[in-house]
């Protein structure tokens, strides 16, 4: 085949341009850290990548959500712990007061202490975390106990999604803890105080010991139930952690560049490019004119 200078220089230019475009590709890969930068680079990888990225972002969101559930549960648990202690104290007071040797004045001072504990329990029932009442179901904007002993608990569960399709109840049913409007611990305490003050002679103080025991049981049961859910939450958190690692790894395997490979390819391409430049510069230089005189 007849080969002319023009063909050689055109071919050389074409090859150099191809070589540049390859080096550009490796540069892109190295600077962005991604194997693909356009859907056409590899449609399947890009489609998968969209899915994986979305998956990772969702898992991160679920992790944020579990943080919120923790917040609810830890605060509820602390409040229930305080409630148990307060009720224990009340029970002690009831045992003390049921002792016949106590004088009326002493009973009245016990009544005063009981009144304080009642206020304390009301405060516990009205616990507010992050501006939300945690013992009022989904009606978090309103205090469950506004005045006296009348309570108005919302018993809906606050559900938070912690994994795709899995919702966890973050709160406890306040009626299980404090009782409903008909019969609740505050009314019990009120009636206990009335008895201590002598306004309510016919009731036996021993009855209150039993009542308070029952209330303590209720709170402990609610705590046990909450504890079981906290365990479940821990499991879910562990699982989300694992999922995050797996999903991030899949995302990375799918679209992240293998640096060792890309750098090796870049260096290989660079040497080819240098060789092409060296060869080209030798070939396009001389013509017969240089040797004629």
């Amino acid at each position: 085949m007849r080969v002319t200078q023009n063909m050689i220089s055109n071919n050389m230019l074409n090859h150099l341009s191809n070589s540049y475009s390859k080096m550009n590709k490796y540069m892109d890969q190295l600077t962005t850290g991604k194997k693909v930068n356009k859907p056409s680079d590899d449609p399947v990888t890009v489609m998968k990548g969209m899915n994986y990225r979305s998956e990772v972002s969702r898992i991160e969101q679920y992790q944020r959500n579990t943080g919120e559930v923790h917040n609810w549960m830890d605060n509820t648990d602390a409040a229930l712990d305080q409630a148990t202690q307060a009720l224990q104290k009340l029970r002690e007071l009831a045992v003390q007061a049921s002792n016949d040797t106590y004088s009326e004045e002493e009973r009245q001072s016990i009544a005063k202490e009981a009144e304080q504990i009642k206020q304390d329990l009301i405060d516990i029932a009205n616990t507010k975390v992050n501006g939300k009442y945690i013992f009022n179901g989904t009606n978090t904007g309103e205090a469950p106990i506004k005045e006296g002993e009348s309570v108005n608990f919302n018993t809906n569960f606050v559900k938070i999604e912690v994994a795709a399709g899995t919702e966890l109840e973050a709160n406890v049913n306040p009626e299980n803890v404090f009782g409903d409007d008909e019969s609740n611990m505050f009314k019990d305490i009120k009636s206990f105080i009335e008895t201590l003050n002598g306004d309510n002679q016919e009731t036996d103080l021993n009855q209150y010991i039993e009542d308070f025991d029952q209330r303590i049981d209720n709170v402990i049961n609610a705590r046990a139930d909450l504890g079981a859910r906290m365990n479940r939450l821990d499991l879910i958190e562990d699982r989300l952690g694992d999922q995050e690692i797996v999903a991030t790894k899949m995302m990375s395997d799918n679209e992240d560049v293998d640096y060792a490979k890309a750098i090796t390819e870049l260096i290989t391409q660079e040497s080819i490019h240098r060789a092409a430049l060296a060869a080209g510069s030798r070939i396009i230089q001389p013509s017969l004119v240089d040797f004629l005189r």
């Binding site: 080969v3 890009v46 990225r53 979305s54 972002s57 989904t138 919302n154 017969l288």
Partner: protein, 486 residues
């Protein structure tokens, strides 16, 4: 046999070698001219002496009478031209298509963290946050802002695609103008060739220019070229007048008519679909734009199909998403205890897809509670689920989730752009191979020209020397003869 025979022969040789030297100079001068084919002077031996006739002189054998420059021809292979134009048509198609798709890929920007998929993910996240903190005004504002961002992204994509579609339209118009101008120039060259060829000349430089223009035209539309002789007096080796026909299946439509010396312009009509017509003698002849040849077809495909499809897919997706999202939103209750109003309004088609202004002003109106007066966030979870629920997108009755639908759009785009890129590369390679073959035949080699130049120069010098020899012979006859004994 004349005494001056030798002088005349040397003179002819000088002239012939000189014209070859001039042609060599022409070749060297045009070594880098686009489309130039190297030219060669065809040397022919002159008529020998004597010719057979009754009164021929009785000399032994026929005596050669020297050289004559027969014709100046260009070195070119028309078969390679045909091949090149076929490949150039395909390359033109895929190059234009790849460029159009690449622009679409850039707009969709889907491998980055700025695409529609990311906007959807962010909106989903904000709904989840709101579900865990239903009364938190910050979480509500975030949902509103992310909702606005999502609507903006939809609008941005749709607007950008429409704008590029507009650009494609002007590109189609421009391409048609270029094609018409090329046909006009080819026709003009035909006319000039018609003036020159009957005199027995070869219009080499005009042929080159015409071939270059035809090459260019073949990138725009798929063409077939045939030649008719320009009439009596024209050499057999003359190219003649080019007739260019547009190929479509078995039918051909004449664009440049070499016999009538006129041409038929292309014209674009934008109706429901874009039509390219050839303005014929009596009527406009529509051409078939469905084949994968020529950049014009690629532009029409992109303008008529690729971009509108993507725009309508986005429209359908936004419409279905809006409908479902508003439906779910309507089932929930806002902070005032009212049922949700429409969250999204307007449509992408009309360019006014956006978040309800009332909700932007008062984020309390986001309806995330499952019942009146409740502060739960159950409905926010349902709203977040809208992205994953299979819903009917478009009119085909099939149900897919918004996310999957969008992924498949991007996947389809990727596949067709990948095909276009691969085909561009393939057709480039094929075209450059043919072009190399053509260059191998036609392009100027400086070494060769230098060699020729020396060859012709030597021949010229030798002819001059031969004339000197003749001169000395004559000198002997004229001045040296008949003076014996003096």
């Amino acid at each position: 046999m004349s005494s001056f025979h030798g002088l005349e022969m040397a003179k002819q040789a000088l002239f012939a070698q000189q014209s070859a030297l001039y042609t060599t100079g022409h070749n060297i001068a045009n070594a880098n001219t686009k489309g130039y084919s190297r030219q060669r002077v065809q040397f022919e031996t002159d008529t020998p002496f004597p010719v057979g006739s009754r009164n021929r002189p009785e000399i032994p054998g026929q005596l050669g009478t020297g050289v004559r420059a027969g014709s100046v021809e260009r070195v070119r292979d028309q078969f390679l031209d045909t091949q090149f134009r076929g490949e150039n048509s395909k390359a033109g198609y895929w190059e234009a298509k790849a460029a159009a798709l690449s622009r679409m890929e850039n707009v969709m920007n889907e491998t980055s963290d700025n695409g529609l998929a990311k906007s959807m993910d962010l909106f989903w996240n904000s709904l989840q946050d709101l579900a865990t903190n239903p009364t938190n005004s910050g979480a509500r504002s975030v949902v509103v802002q992310r909702g606005i961002a999502l609507a903006d992204t939809f609008n941005y994509l749709s607007n950008s695609l429409t704008k590029i579609q507009g650009d494609l339209q002007s590109e189609i118009n421009h391409t048609v103008d270029v094609a018409n101008s090329l046909m006009n120039q080819i026709n003009e060259i035909n006319k000039q060739v018609k003036q020159i060829e009957p005199h027995g000349y070869l219009a080499n430089d005009l042929y080159d220019e015409r071939d270059r223009l035809i090459d260019e035209l073949s990138g725009i539309v798929d063409i077939k070229v045939s030649y008719t002789s320009s009439g009596n007096g024209a050499l057999k080796t003359a190219d003649g007048l080019a007739t260019i026909e547009l190929v479509q299946g078995d039918n051909k439509i004449t664009l440049v008519d070499g016999e009538e010396l006129n041409y038929h312009e292309l014209k674009v009509n934008y109706n429901d679909t874009t039509e390219i017509n050839v303005i014929g003698k009596k009527e406009e002849v529509p051409i078939d734009t469905s084949s994968f040849t020529g950049s014009l077809n690629a532009l029409v495909h992109a303008y008529d199909e690729v971009y509108p499809e993507m725009i309508s897919d986005l429209d359908a997706m936004a419409k279905a998403f809006k409908k479902e999202f508003n439906k779910v939103h309507g089932q929930g209750y806002d902070l005032n205890g009212d049922q949700g109003k429409n969250f999204f309004e307007g449509s992408l088609e009309d360019g006014n897809f956006k978040v309800n202004d009332e909700i932007i002003k008062n984020p309390d109106l986001i309806a995330v509670s499952s019942s009146e007066g409740s502060d739960d966030g159950d409905n926010a979870l349902d709203l977040a689920d809208v992205f994953d629920e299979p819903i009917e997108i478009g009119d085909d009755g099939e149900k897919t989730s918004v996310k999957e639908f969008y992924e498949s759009i991007i996947g389809d785009l990727g596949v067709s752009a990948q095909e276009a890129n691969r085909m561009t590369e393939n057709t480039y390679i094929l075209r450059s191979q043919v072009d190399n073959q053509r260059q191998s035949v036609s392009s100027v080699s400086l070494d060769e020209e230098m060699t020729n130049m020396i060859k012709f120069q030597h021949a010229y010098n030798a002819a001059a020397r031969s004339m000197t020899a003749m001169d000395e012979l004559l000198d002997k006859i004229i001045n040296g003869m008949g003076i014996v004994g003096r």
